[in-house]
Subunit: 703 residues, 2 copies
């Protein structure tokens, strides 16, 4: 593309471009938020880019930044700016400290290795825009920041922005298998065409890396945490290296999930015991082999002794033993081990408490290049969970926050649920141990929602979750609503009324899904295996803590999981102030009430309703919000291109139907348990409980 684009030179393109009659003309979502559509007249006048001046050492990353600026300006203003030697009026000046033009004054130290400054200034009598950074990667991020400012309608003549990431490692985790099936993928197959790599390198890999770079995402774990050892063989490393070559100019490092038993499976060893010298030697040789083909390899992500995966406990060793052995192999090359804390042992004790109990005692035992990766909440990516008690509780251990962008438990890609508020909620949560969750982590990982679907994410609005993840990982202090506003302006329209209507709809969506699926702190009520739809009645699974009944504990006398002092005591894992507040139903916020407490159906809620009536009210509110979202989207018809508007409309129809299904099936079930009549005026479930229980989904995606 770059070559093609370079040929284009300064050719003036007409606005009629958007009316191209070919198949490619419709907005299908492929371009994501990097659409670079022509700005409307007043904004266009503000876009005075006549040239690009490079005052920085040449590199592939710098060239990528310049090409992206040319592409963006060509799209928005109709003319690609040429690269010039000296800053004329209206130049974009990309500068690093050693080569910055005279008269440029920047607090370089504050920018660090990845940050940037954008500033409108007068240089040698000419009005120019400065993009300043210490590195080519900073210039790349600054270029995308300038393009974002232009696309969102910022005043480009008065820029004065400085930004540096607060979290150093911002990674996507792809749960992609080598056969291209994506575990919990709802956007088609895996982007990685392992069979054809490294010979065939899809142009889409570049666009993937561009999109990540535009957000500051700087790493990608390519394969599923439920890993195959094959990904560590020489042929698969060559394939991963081909992807790394594509990603490198865009600042995205390749990581791999490592199967702990690889020394046995691939190396022919008798054991994978992390204390065995031959095992350690095998991993050291493997690390050296990897760095020979991927010199900037990020490191390993490991799911060990969790849900059937092999791990150090198979040999009587600890998680620290396992992680440190891999860390030792990676350390000479600068690699990092991300060791997942998502573990729950086979015993029957409260599943929510197990990761804390397993990992907290290991604090201080991990090698310096180990990061323990902790899911946002103590169960598993539910519509709402309290933050995980490990955050703030392992001061001697670098932690990573693992978020799930793919909506395994939130309606797949069919439901419009903006995750920005969910991410914000956990990032800004006060651990009461002297830090927020964001302040307690060195890395943020997001389980990707990306696949081969033309729109990348399965539905248009799911792109916003990728976007919000990346932007909040770069700067957890951003407000989710502001990030949504940026996204909507770039992805749909910068016109304020329509943009704000979209943002309002997104803002409502997260609370809606909580309401129609799992209100008041309920969790894990979904269908078995595929996790599609409601199944609160399931009580017959292999492990007791896989059953929805284990989590809601509804009976004739009440509902909820008692994690207070009278129950599993898991609440005591939080800092004392929180443990006190959440240990008492009177001081527990309603949205976490049944997470921490088992309460009678007639428990009085702050609203004045009984718990049972409040539960029904919340389910109804969720359905009503989805209906309202659909109405508000319909009203946006004049503002949105036809294909994307119709597609979102179709998805909202599905969501409205499935929200009712969740509401009806859950109410029917809980009523059958409580034996209580429906509160006056409540619409009865549309079908019988038996009908809902009979539904089966043998070909649901993502399993």
């Amino acid at each position: 593309m770059n070559t093609f684009f370079a040929r284009l030179g300064g050719l003036l393109l007409v606005t009629a471009l958007a009316l191209l009659p070919g198949w490619a003309a419709a907005e299908d979502g492929y371009e994501l938020w990097l659409r670079y559509r022509p700005l409307v007249a007043p904004a266009m006048a503000q876009l005075p880019v006549r040239s690009i001046v490079v005052a920085a050492p040449d590199s592939p990353t710098l060239r990528a930044a310049v090409a992206e600026l040319q592409r963006g300006v060509a799209g928005m203003a109709g003319r690609a700016p040429a690269v010039a030697d000296a800053p004329g009026p209206g130049a974009l000046v990309l500068a690093t400290p050693a080569r910055a033009p005279a008269g440029v004054s920047v607090d370089w130290a504050a920018l660090g290795a990845e940050g940037y400054a954008l500033r409108s200034l007068v240089l040698q009598g000419r009005r120019v825009t400065l993009i300043a950074a210490n590195t080519d990667r900073g210039l790349l991020y600054g270029s995308f920041a300038w393009l974002r400012a232009a696309q969102t309608g910022a005043d480009l003549s008065r820029l004065d922005e400085r930004s540096a990431p607060k979290v150093g490692l911002r990674l996507l985790n792809h749960w992609d298998n080598l056969d291209r099936h994506v575990e919990r993928g709802y956007a088609g197959a895996s982007l990685w065409d392992w069979w054809r790599l490294p010979d065939i390198v899809d142009a889409r890999y570049t666009d993937y890396a561009r999109a990540n770079a535009s957000l500051g995402i700087n790493g990608a774990v390519l394969n599923n945490v439920n890993a195959k050892a094959d990904s560590l063989t020489a042929p698969y490393l060559a394939k991963a290296a081909a992807l790394a070559d594509v990603f490198r100019p865009w600042g995205v490092k390749v990581w791999l999930s490592a199967r702990f038993s690889a020394p046995r499976e691939l190396g022919g060893l008798k054991t994978s015991d992390p204390l065995d010298p031959a095992v350690r030697a095998w991993w050291q040789a493997k690390a050296a082999e990897i760095y020979r083909v991927i010199p900037d390899f990020g490191g390993f992500l490991v799911k060990a002794n969790s849900e059937g995966q092999p791990g150090p406990q198979d040999y009587g060793r600890s998680h620290a033993d396992g992680a440190n052995m891999l860390a030792e192999a990676l350390a000479p090359h600068g690699g990092v081990v991300m060791w997942r804390a998502f573990v729950y042992a086979p015993e029957a004790k409260d599943r929510a408490a197990q990761a804390f109990d397993d990992f907290k005692p290991l604090d201080g035992q991990f090698a310096p290049n180990v990061i323990v990766q902790v899911k946002n909440g103590p169960i598993d990516f539910q519509p709402r969970e309290p933050f995980h008690p490990l955050f703030g509780a392992m001061p001697k251990t670098p932690l990573a926050l693992e978020l799930q962008i793919t909506k395994e438990y939130l309606g797949f890609s069919s439901h419009l649920v903006h995750l920005g508020p969910l991410f914000e909620e956990v990032l800004k949560a006060d651990t009461h141990r002297g830090t927020t969750v964001a302040g307690a982590v060195k890395a943020i990982a997001g389980v990707a929602n990306i696949g081969t679907d033309r729109n990348w994410s399965g539905s248009q609005f799911d792109q916003a979750n990728w976007y919000s993840f990346g932007r909040l990982a770069w700067d957890p202090d951003l407000a989710a609503a502001d990030v949504a506003r940026e996204w909507a302006a770039q992805t749909f329209t910068a016109r304020p009324a329509a943009r704000d209507a979209i943002v309002a709809l997104m803002a409502d969506s997260r609370e809606a899904v909580v309401d129609y699926m799992t209100p008041l702190g309920l969790h894990h009520l979904m269908g078995t295996g595929h996790h599609h739809g409601p199944a609160p009645w399931v009580d017959n699974l292999e492990r007791v803590d896989w059953n929805p009944t284990y989590f809601h504990r509804a009976s004739r006398s009440g509902i909820g999981f008692d994690r207070s002092a009278s129950g599993s005591k898991a609440v005591a894992q939080y800092a004392p102030a929180l443990a006190r507040a959440w240990g008492d139903p009177r001081s527990t916020p309603p949205e976490l009430l049944l997470w921490f407490h088992h309460l009678p159906w007639d428990h009085a809620m702050p609203s004045g309703r009984t718990l049972w009536a409040e539960l029904v009210t919340r389910y109804d509110r969720g359905v009503a919000t989805v209906d309202s979202m659909a109405r508000r989207w319909a009203a946006l018809n004049p503002d949105i291109d036809p294909q994307r508007h119709a597609e979102v409309t179709a998805y909202l129809t599905v969501q409205a139907r499935e929200a009712r299904w969740w509401r009806d099936a859950c109410i029917a079930y809980f009523q059958s348990v409580s034996g209580l009549p429906l509160p006056a005026g409540t619409r009865p479930p549309a079908r019988s409980l038996a009908d809902y229980q009979a539904l089966q989904f043998p070909h649901a995606p993502g399993r």
Copy 2:
């Protein structure tokens, strides 16, 4: 798209459109042969389309034809012609008999229900182009024929063409599973997003139907012949109906593969015995249910008692009993049963002879709406097979020819192999029973090579196999080379020198793959299960007739499968003239020699070489041809857009490597068996036989 396009009206578009800087600008193959790029100046002057006049009853199909003409002319000439009431100069006139303008004289009867005539003529003093047909579908096909003429550089001022299909049913068979895995699919996942249907209807379904309509393909079996019963449940019928609604204007009927045991699996019956009244009633009710939601449903394709699929023989009934029971259910609705003859029983007799022995005795026993679907050759889609002996041998039974477009045994989508010559070879084969194969069939089915890959077929050149299948199914008398020329002109370039170079390269490709995989009548030498690469040494599979050693029978004394009178006698299944010729090695063409005969390694070949030397020569020739193809493609660099040129180049590199692998592994193996030295001057295999035998491909696609 149509709505969007209609808005466009007569807006003049500039040639600069092709330089659109967005991501969509590069040629990625999505548009197939329907690219409608601006014609170069002299050809553009020949494109005098100023208006479209519709002299035919309105219908969705007619509107589709008009929209396609508008889209095509807008792309090629820069201006979309408006629909006019009366034929002005330069009009395209679409006419059916009842409404044809005065002065139009057409041999309507010769056109049948699907045919069309294109003619340049003077009407009321104005030069116009007539597209005439008896039906809207004929007008649709005629419109695509006119667009093809325009794109291939025909003289549009002197058109006089008439065409009507010689075979009534022209179907794609999709081996697509409900989880979107495609059996023997090498182009990504299934197009059919069953999970999201019927709510979400991908715009791509329309483009799929358009592409088929452009070739005259008039039906699609949506699901794998290894069928799940689920596809016959109400939810899946609703999904299929949504696809049928999209396809209908484009003349593409929906068919389904039916699982024979559905009455037991879905209906709760104790049996699926075709003579059981309850089973018959179940199928009749199911057919009625299908036609309620898909009124023009095509019918069922059935794989029964074949490779583990259930069938009538499970109940001691014949294939005719099974097919007739389904035919009875479909008959009231006009539906058809396609009953596959691809069967081979568990006994050890020559697998190539079994379908004939099973089906020939049933001739005359099938209901009128049953068509027996026979693969092109008696084994299974090998690079070369003799035509199947059933063609011409069942005069009382309508037959269908089943071709495989997806290249299960010909290098997947990685090898450039144009199948036109293979299709042509079988279609034009003289059965010596008074007809060619094409003359002996009522239907032609092609196992599709289409998936979610952006270019539809996995590689650019595999689009040509879809194209050639459709065009040859419409008119088996076409020359494969002419069809390739049409395709190359539309898909890559109409400039004669480059176009003809592409065609020449395609023409060589089929013989090349025969040479480097299975020369001289060898067959079934491929790897187990995935069918990737050579494995002539495999001799340990569950069934003896799954082993490559079963098929080549190589030993110290010779090689080949003796199907003559001294062997399995399978050659006697052909008409006497052929049985005589092919029963004797002296009159058997070299390309079928080892299909029919087991011969000593020193057997003298017409070339003067020994059989062993000839075998090595052919393997070498195959490799050399691929090298030549790569060189000739490289020379086309100035004529092809960069992205597609680079992609094809990368695939040719893979093919050259894998052709050597085939050649080296097969020669190494056959040499180990024959014990003979390599002929003088022969390059020895690059690696040891053991090396080739050790290769494994655990994640190969398409299994």
